[in-house]
Amino acid sequence: MLKRLVVLVAVIALSFTFAVKDATSAEKEFRIGWLAAVTGWAAQIGKDMTNGFKMYLDQQNYKFGPLKVKFIVEDNLAKPPVNVRKAMKLIKRDKVHLFSGGLLASTGYALAPLAERTNVLYISPIPAADDLTQRKRYKNFMRLGFTSSQNSHPQGQWACEQGFKKVVTIAADYAFGYETVGGFQKTFEACGGKIIKKLWPKIGTKDFAPYLAKFPKDLDAVFTLMVGGMSLSFPKQFRGAGFKAPMLGGITSADEFILPNMGDEAIGYITAGQYSAALDTKKNRAFVKEYQKRYGKMASYYSESCYTAALFIHKALAKINYKYDRDKFKDAMRSLRVDAIRGPVYLDKFDNPVHNVYIRKVVRISGDHKGLGVKPNSLWNKVIKTYPAIGQFYPDSAEKFLKQPVYSKNFPPCKHCR
């Protein structure tokens, strides 16, 4: 009997030795934990993110000054609870200096408190939940992507200036959708436009017919925020139902990630984003070209954001002479002015980036566009207007902006809805 017990204990102990740390941590090592989907529905997005980050590390030969970079990728399945578990693993087992990655806004909400609890810095390249750098700020949370409403504030103004008067919004039913639409509505209505209907299809909606049936016939434009498969099917079904109105949208409605799989119905789609692969700067051309060569894909905002995150980490480390100390590192991050691929970027005092916002229009460009090596006759997000140095509160001041509640389904209220 006793023997059996001993055997049982031994088995359990053995199974734990599976987890024995690989090597003793070297002094001159800088460990970065990375959370991205390797499997599951978001695997390709995860790959784009990882590739972006890795490309920078590759270019630097995995060396930040004297430090050797150890880049540890964990599969998060794009599910928030899994993120929490894997982040704990990165912190406890790999003893990372900081961790980054994550995709959904909900992931941001899951990881930011964890970063505060465990005293490890979390740098968010993609999760765009507004409040994380606004009303519910967390220590040890810094963002290098964007807030959901950051892009749509200038876009609302732009749409109004183009003379659109009556706009219907249709957006995925979750925080990212509410905040993107909220930002658009705020500036659009402040300038005199009218949102006449707001619709919220659930994530993963396949059939838009019940929503399209609710569209008034006399709309000037539709504003969409679609994610994943929805981005592809909405334009088809919208045009199929006989609507001719122009389509406006948030960044994910027509980003470079899904553009290669879109058809002619997407041409003319106007979205706002902090990045476009068609951005005509020397830096970006080189970036897109190299990305295409390495991974055979058009660079997307996922890869650019993650690339920029790596760039920021490197620059901030350089500023503190490669001696990592969390608080000093944070200060260094805040003081940086980086000329990134997307244009000049710096952090505001809420640790959210201030950068250009580009109004982009989907066009088909025949031939090898500027010799970048992308498949001929592809769709591109042509930049038609640049709003320079846009922060998350544009056009208000931070104090004024923070007085309003976070954008939600009911805020801003829909005054002109019928």
Binding site: L5, P81, L114
Partner: protein
């Protein structure tokens, strides 16, 4: 002080051996219980010690304990009563949501006031535990009314669909559940002045609850009532003939399973400090089902072993192999094929078969 866990586990081991030797040989049930209890206690206490050398093991063990409770509770239904449920994540989910909501929604005056009162008296965590149990009872009692009539595949399907309703609720009722964002719990309440925000303390708290649940479930399945459930599993008709109200028996088993699933949910909220809709998905229910099938149904230890294996795999396979779902899928299939082919039920089944064959060869 550093190796206090060693001391405790040594004491537990010693106690176990003493009790084992002292106890009457005829009382097999009690004997087995004592052995299991102290065995689990020993391993449980040893883990934080191991953690000093193998980081992360305490965290994983903590997760195993939480899912162990869930898997054991499913075992009451699946192993002992013969009702395989594919919606067991529902009670797990509602309880964890209930705890998270009470801890965070300050605007809900009444519940929050009660919680604050309990909190100020050092009973916050007890309040949450009771809440989790009550919520689980409520849901299980309601779902049981709908589901118990069905058997076999239909039971599977009806529990699946009910769990989907709960999942939809969590996803959709965003005013309360924060929808897709999930709820972040700021911290754990303390227990009689013991700070549970410390992971080390919380681990022992979980271990305590786990052992308590294990003991209660052990008593439950070995009680006359539990025996009746096994009778129903073997032949419901015969039990009906004998004058048992089989419906009521199954209904009560359903509720009891729900309660322990709810306790697992309560532990999960405090462990992860984050609740979101994926916790209630079909995958979670299927995982629980697999834990039971892997470890061995109708043994309470089996599901715990199943839970350990699954959780350890989830943590480590993904480090070494990028395409781990392929491996996990293959392991699912292999396990089931083995248990079908060799007519054994899970790992404990294999163990007992080996023991049986070695015993017979000795004779």
């Amino acid at each position: 002080m550093k190796s206090i866990e060693l001391l405790i586990s040594a004491i537990a081991l010693g106690l176990g051996i003493i009790c084992y030797l002292k106890l009457d040989k005829k009382n097999i049930i009690l004997k087995k219980f004592v052995m299991l209890f102290f065995g689990l206690l020993t391993i449980g206490c040893l883990t934080p010690f191991i953690d000093k050398y193998v980081p992360l093991s305490q965290l994983i063990m903590n997760e195993i304990l939480v899912f162990g409770v869930l898997a054991m509770s499913l075992d009451i239904l699946m192993g002992y009563t013969g009702l395989a449920s594919l919606g067991h994540a529902a009670y797990f989910g509602v309880s964890s949501y209930a705890c998270a909501i009470v801890m965070t929604k300050t605007s809900w005056v009444t519940s929050f006031a009660a919680y604050t009162w309990a909190q100020s008296n050092g009973l916050g965590i007890i309040f949450l535990l009771v809440l989790a149990i009550v919520v689980a009872i409520f849901f299980a009692a309601f779902f049981g009314l709908l589901a118990i009539r069905a058997t076999d595949v239909y039971f599977l399907m009806i529990t699946l669909s009910l769990a989907m309703v709960v999942w939809g609720l969590a996803y959709r009722w965003s005013a309360v559940t924060e929808g897709d964002n999930g709820i972040n719990v700021p911290g754990r309440p303390s227990l009689f002045g013991i700070n549970l925000d410390n992971d080390y303390n919380f681990y022992f708290f979980t271990l305590g609850i786990f052992l308590l649940c294990f003991s209660v479930m052990y008593l439950f399945v070995n009680s006359p009532f539990g025996k009746t459930l096994v009778g129903i599993r073997e032949s419901e008709e015969r039990m009906k003939m004998l004058g048992y109200n089989t419906w009521l028996h199954k209904y009560i088993a359903f509720i009891v399973a729900g309660i322990f699933s709810g306790i697992a949910g309560f532990l999960w909220t405090l462990f992860n400090l984050f609740v979101s809709p994926p916790d209630l998905e079909l995958i979670t229910s299927a995982e629980a089902l697999f834990m039971v099938a892997l470890g061995g149904p109708a043994t309470l230890l089996g599901p715990v072993i199943g839970a350990s294996i699954i959780k350890i795999l989830q943590q480590f396979v993904s480090i070494y192999v990028e395409r781990w779902p392929l491996i996990l899928g293959a392991i699912y299939i292999i396990t089931i094929m083995v248990s079908r082919l060799y007519k054994v039920e899970g790992i404990l089944g294999i163990v007992s078969k080996i023991r049986g064959s070695s015993a017979s060869s000795k004779e």
